[in-house]
Symmetry: C2
DNA sequence: TATTGACCTCAAGTATGCATGAGGTTTTAG
DNA sequence: CTAAAACCTCATGCATACTTGAGGTCAATA
C-alpha cells in the first residue's frame, strides 16, 4: 500500500526464497527498513538489486565478491551505469574462466589416449596452472585474497 | 624398498596432502594396502589415479562423479584406454559448461548498459535457463541426481 | 635401544549458500 | 475481535572438500 514491499512480495517477484533474502541481508548484500512490528519492508529498487545478485551468482561469482562490488556503488539504488560497470567487470571474469576451462579442454584433447599421464612433462600435470583449487567445493570465480 | 609407496611418498609425488589422501580413501576414490603396523602402502599406479582425480577436479567435476566414473573401470589400474574414455566424457561436460558460461557472457554483452534489467523480458532474468543453481556453493559440473 | 619422524584414527573446524524448524509476534481479512 | 497467514529471531542442518588437532603407535636411524 505504501509503495514498499514485504519479504514475501520480494521473494515472489525476484524468484528467491524468503530465507535467501534473510541470508543476503545478514551477509550485507541487501538492506531493509522495518515496520513498528519489526517486519521487513523494501524499496522497489531491491528487485533490481536481487536480480543482479542472481545474475552474478549464475556467473559463478561468490556472494563475498558480489557484496564488495555492490559496496563500491555510490548509492543503494543500482543505476544503469552502475550496472554497466559491474557487468563489464563480471564479463571479464567470466571470460577468464571460460578461457581457462577452454585451455583445460584443449589439453584434454591433446592428451586423450596419449598415455602421457605417466610422464613428468604432461601438460595436464603441470602444476603451474592449476585451476580452482582454492578451498572447499568446486568454485568458479573467486575474490582475490586481499578482500 | 618393496616397490610400494608410503602416504608421504604419494603426497609429495602427486602434489596433494596426506590428509587429502586419507579423505579420498575414506570416500572410496583410492585404496591402500596396509603394513603389519597398519600403515598405508600404495601401488605405483596410485599416482596416475590421483593425477586423474586432480585433473577432473580442475575441470570442476565433483568427487562423487569422479568416483562413479572410476568405479566403472574394469581394473584398479587405469589403462590408457580407460583414460581415453573418461577424459572424453569429461571433455563433453567441460564443453557444456563452457557453452553455458559463454551464453551467459553473451547475454551480458547484449544487456550491458541497456537498462533492461528492469523489464520482464530481459534475457538475463529469464528463469528458464538458470545455471548452476543447484545446492550450496558455486558449482561447476555436477552429477545428475540419479547417481 | 632409544629417539625422532612418520603414521594412524576419530572428532571437530572451516567456508559457502542457503533450508528447516522451534517458539513466539504482527498483520490482515472476515 | 479473532483466527489465520505472514513475520521475526536464533539455532541447527546439509553438502562439498578438505584441514587441524588430540592422543597414541610404528619405523628407521644413530
Amino acid at each position: 500500500m505504501d509503495n514498499t514491499l514485504s519479504v514475501d512480495d520480494v521473494a515472489r517477484r525476484s524468484g528467491v526464497t524468503v530465507s535467501t533474502l534473510h541470508y543476503y541481508e545478514e551477509k550485507g548484500l541487501i538492506q531493509s527498513l522495518r515496520t513498528q512490528g519489526n517486519q521487513r519492508r523494501y524499496h522497489r529498487s531491491i528487485l533490481r538489486r536481487v536480480a543482479i545478485i542472481r545474475i552474478a551468482k549464475q556467473a559463478g561469482i561468490s556472494l563475498r565478491l558480489i557484496k564488495s562490488h555492490l559496496e563500491k556503488l555510490p548509492t543503494r539504488e543500482v543505476s544503469p551505469s552502475d550496472w554497466e560497470q559491474m557487468s563489464s567487470e563480471w564479463r571479464a571474469m567470466l571470460n577468464e574462466r571460460i578461457l581457462s576451462l577452454t585451455q583445460l579442454r584443449d589439453k584434454l584433447d591433446s592428451c586423450i589416449g596419449c598415455g602421457c599421464l605417466s610422464l613428468r612433462d604432461c601438460p595436464l600435470r603441470n602444476p603451474e596452472d592449476r585451476l580452482g583449487e582454492n578451498g572447499p567445493g568446486a568454485r568458479l570465480l573467486e575474490e582475490d585474497k586481499h578482500n
